[in-house]
């Protein structure tokens, strides 16, 4: 790296630090898609207008997502002399209140999620301590970051930038240690040295299959053919997983830096980011980030004066789940239908335009800068024997704290759901956790003490996948869930190979029959038989894993299938026509919520007295069950 480039970077870093920790008060609003969906745009406007009308001289900026989507919109307050304060669930009214309180040098403790006294910039192992010499009253009552259960057990590495920096400003990423890894790779290591470090870290592909990244890179490096390509797979199609979106929206430079390092190691001259069409905000952030990186000479010709040329183009997806499969993704970039092809030859030998191509997931690329700056040993000091480092999960569904969590590999599912996630809300019973999206399986309560890593989850019939985790409680019917996933894979099957195209369709027909009361003896066996045949014979991973949700639910919840088939009854109360609801008079407190929300006027009763439900009028929509505060609406 030339000394001029280094000097430039250091200047930008100084500017970035001023922007991260300014001398004035700064308010940062979480403006990722989840923040916006909860009203962050109105909140940031309210803060700006209130500050203007009160004559406050403060900086208002957007930030990425901290991961606790449940409590969005989150608003960060960074004021000299105070710890960083995180306000939760803001709306226009509350936002105005906190700005008004600032004028009097106060905080509003009841709206605060936590305070942060210091934060580490992992990319260069630098600690930033907030100056705490002017604490306002009530600050001691606010819990510190690490005491919030949701954050306490997490170990944020890849996600460390998200929510802490403004994704629109490259200088803030550089201030937090960004692009030092690139400087180190280009300046101190040769390409083989980078690959060796990644291999030594035992990083496995975070897209789900878990193939060792270092080995994949060296295959591509050694493959004959020029030019070589690197691709970032941001076609995050698994329903229930959204960490890739969050990283792209919250810290896009981390992914870009990872790709440049990877391209240098592999010897690639072109990069492509394939991003889902459903993520317009991520595309916007990425486009801006790429322009900024080009402007600073971190992309393009002669990167950082090292003589290495590399650039990245963005390709938008067009709404096909199968394009997350690498060969289908390549076909889609080449301008045709996204149908997978037979492997080998693997993309490392013949990929995009027939040239050696390396494809990694967003999370894998975002991990690379950490490994390069901090070293393989630091990376692999946590995790299990065969799965090192941390894993990001999106924990959603029937769990108290919905959001993105990053935990060391090997944490048990129970810790994840009940400690980090706070357990199941509304006093309901936990039933299963679904991991790995439509390719994964449902894991029952009895296996919840399983430490999570690639191999342990595979051993129980599921996969870690891209990290989606959907928690299900007693109101989720496992047959219905299996049907849901099969409907998904049937729709998304590209139709190229028969086992997947026809098999998923027929399995869905059988499942639909079961959930509508037309199940027959022997159906379970047919499902198992067809499922295992599809696993054996489908062309690509989409088809080969499509039956997993069915096979695992049969394996762990067979009695639920039998109940549907033999007694035409859905014990969870999810399959219409196969259950009846009633209100338990001992539990009902007569709050009237079910009565006022029932779309078919099936509930009657006086306030403060137990209500009754007329099963003749009931359309089994389940709304009363969902809103009942005491869980008094039960399945007969």
């Amino acid at each position: 790296m030339s000394s001029l480039a280094l000097k430039n970077l250091n200047e930008i870093k100084a500017k970035g630090l001023k922007s991260l920790y300014p001398e004035k008060t700064k308010i940062a609003v979480g403006m990722s898609t989840c923040g916006r969906a909860s009203g962050a745009e109105e909140v940031i406007e309210a803060i700006q207008s209130e500050a203007a009308s009160l004559g406050l001289d403060i900086i208002v900026t957007p930030n990425g997502c901290m991961g606790l989507c449940q409590k969005e919109p989150l608003v960060d307050l960074i004021r000299p002399g105070w710890p960083r304060v995180v306000y939760q669930q803001m709306d226009v009214k509350k936002a105005k209140e906190i700005v008004a309180a600032l004028k009097e040098n106060k905080i509003i403790a009841k709206y605060i999620l936590c305070k942060i006294g210091e934060e580490t910039h992992l990319l260069e192992n630098a600690l930033h301590r907030y100056n705490l010499n002017g604490l306002p009253e009530n600050m001691e009552k606010v819990p510190p970051y690490k005491e919030v259960p949701f954050f306490g057990k997490q170990q944020k590495r890849v996600l460390q930038g998200c929510g802490n920096i403004n994704p629109d400003k490259i200088e803030e990423y550089i201030a937090a240690g960004g692009y030092t890894a690139l400087g180190k790779a280009l300046g101190e290591l040769d390409p083989q040295g980078v690959i060796d470090e990644v291999t030594r870290s035992s990083l496995r592909g975070r897209g789900g299959a878990g193939f060792p990244t270092g080995r994949k890179w060296s295959f591509c490096r050694e493959a004959p053919g020029e030019p070589k390509y690197v691709i970032c797979n941001a076609d995050e199609g698994d329903p229930g997983a959204y960490m890739d979106r969050s990283i792209l929206e919250g810290s896009p430079h981390q992914v870009i830096e990872g790709m440049v390092i990877g391209a240098y190691a592999i010897g690639a001259a072109h990069g492509v980011m394939y991003v889902r069409a459903e993520y317009p905000l991520a595309i916007e952030k990425l486009t801006r980030a790429l322009d900024q990186a080009r402007e600073l000479g971190l992309l393009g010709k002669n990167i950082l004066g090292s003589g290495f040329d590399f650039d990245i183009a963005i390709e938008r997806g067009s709404g096909a789940f199968v394009c997350g499969e690498e060969t289908a993704l390549i076909a889609s970039i080449e301008g045709t239908t996204g149908e997978p092809r037979q492997r080998p030859p693997f993309p490392a030998q013949k990929g995009l335009w027939g040239k050696p191509t390396n494809i990694n997931n967003v999370k894998t690329w975002a991990t690379i800068p950490l490994i390069v700056t901090r070293g393989a040993d630091w990376f692999s000091e946590i995790g299990t024997e065969k799965s090192k480092g941390t894993m990001i999960f999106s924990m959603v569904g029937k769990v108290k704290m919905n959001g993105l969590v990053e935990v060391p590999m090997g944490m048990t599912l129970r810790e994840l759901v009940f400690e980090v996630g706070g357990g199941v809300p509304d006093k309901r019973a936990f039933k299963a956790i679904q991991t790995g999206g439509p390719s994964g399986g449902c894991i029952p309560d009895s296996l919840m003490d399983l430490p999570v890593d690639y191999d342990k989850l595979a051993a129980v019939g599921s996969i870690i996948g891209s990290g989606g985790m959907v928690v299900m409680d007693e109101t989720s019917c496992m047959v219905n869930v299996a049907k849901y996933f099969l409907a998904f894979t049937k729709d998304e099957s590209c139709g190229k190979c028969t086992p997947c195209r026809e098999g998923t369709r027929r399995m869905l027909e059988i499942l639909t029959d079961i959930t509508e009361g037309r199940g027959r003896e022997g159906d379970i066996e047919i499902l198992e038989d067809m499922g295992t045949t599809i696993v054996d014979s489908a062309l690509c991973a989409l088809g080969g894993t499509a039956p997993n949700p069915v096979l695992t639910t049969i394996r762990y919840f067979r009695e639920e299938y039998e109940e549907h088939i033999k007694n035409k009854r859905c014990p969870a109360g999810a399959c219409k026509g196969l259950f009846e609801l009633w209100i338990d008079p001992d539990k009902c407190i007569g709050c009237g919520q079910c009565l006022s929300n029932c779309p078919s006027s099936a509930v009657s009763g006086e306030k403060k007295n137990a209500h009754t439900l007329d099963t003749g009028k009931c359309i089994q929509c389940g709304i009363c069950r969902e809103i009942c505060p005491t869980n008094a609406v039960r399945v007969k």
Partner: protein, 294 residues
């Protein structure tokens, strides 16, 4: 041409000529040949097979067309009762049912059929093999002036792209809200990509629509988290209230309704998206109020 004539005293001849060796002709020839008739299968093209071999899938079962036709091609090619007369034209037909005389003119193939193995190497090596395509005069489809300008601008934007088709379709879909067929013909002409390929791509990806859509796009998320928290119920409600099914547009062209596979807002489920704006934790009873804002 049925050779079964009961009114004629002469004994009908047990041979049939089938004209046209498409899938229909092949199937007819096989059925007849298997029932014991001698079949003369006449085809103007140099090969049997016709259109079906060029199709991807068949209606309505979506079966793979090659899988259906290729065993029949093999059988027809080698059947002892079938004589394939390809590269030939029917000149004349005389006589009555049971006693036809058919005149066939065989065009010069310039290849000894008894020696040719159909390896295809000569086609690959032939220097003038694309002449036929070059001779076809492509006529530029006409578009309205505004449309033409918009499409030309989109085409210009992606001209550096090695595979411009999908980005071009995305931009057209974004600009016109769907893919109007005349514009697709125009794109086909300009990019020199066959319309069949364009339609194949356009119908493969969920993002494209070949029918005009409403002013506002209402997408109901059907991700897993939304599924367990009542997303389907929202869709049912919207279908009832708007009087349309998912994938359709209201009569006044105001709303189009569609299912979308995960917007990535799983923590705030159930969610719907109206145009670009995402609404979180949508309630069954108030979902219509959200729409009424538009």
């Amino acid at each position: 041409m049925n050779s079964n004539d009961q009114q004629n005293n002469k004994k009908p001849i047990g041979a049939v000529a089938v004209v046209g060796a498409g899938i229909g002709g092949i199937q007819a020839s096989l059925d007849l040949a298997n029932s014991g008739f001698k079949v003369y299968l006449v085809e103007e093209e140099p090969t049997i097979g016709g259109r079906m071999a060029q199709l991807d899938k068949t209606f309505p079962t979506n079966d793979c067309s090659m899988c259906i036709i290729s065993p029949k091609l093999v059988e027809c090619g080698g059947h002892p009762n079938i004589e394939n007369i390809t590269c030939s034209d029917l000149i004349d037909l005389k006589g009555k049912p049971g006693h036809f005389t058919v005149s066939i003119k065989r065009r010069a193939r310039s290849v000894d059929e008894s020696l040719c193995t159909g390896c295809g190497e000569c086609t690959n090596q032939c220097l003038v093999r694309n002449r036929a395509y070059l001779d076809v005069q492509m006529i530029e489809p006409t578009l309205g002036e505004d449309e033409k300008m918009a499409v030309d601008e989109i085409l210009e934007r992606h001209k550096e792209n090695r595979s411009p088709l999908i980005p071009v379709l995305q931009d057209i879909n974004g600009r016109f809200n769907y893919l109007p067929p005349p514009i697709l013909s125009y794109v086909s002409f300009k990019l020199n990509i066959s319309l069949a390929h364009i339609l194949r791509v356009a119908t493969f990806y969920a993002f494209f629509s070949l029918e005009p859509r409403g002013k506002h796009m209402v997408s109901v998320c059907m991700g897993t988290a939304c599924h367990v928290r009542g997303g389907e119920r929202l869709l049912e409600k919207l279908e009832d209230e708007l009087g349309i099914k998912s994938g359709q547009t209201t009569e006044d062209k105001k709303y189009s309704l569609e299912m979308v596979r995960c917007i990535g807002c799983c923590a705030l489920s159930p969610v719907i998206r109206v145009d670009e704006r995402v609404y979180s934790r949508v309630r069954y009873n108030t979902v219509m109020d959200t729409l009424m804002k538009y």
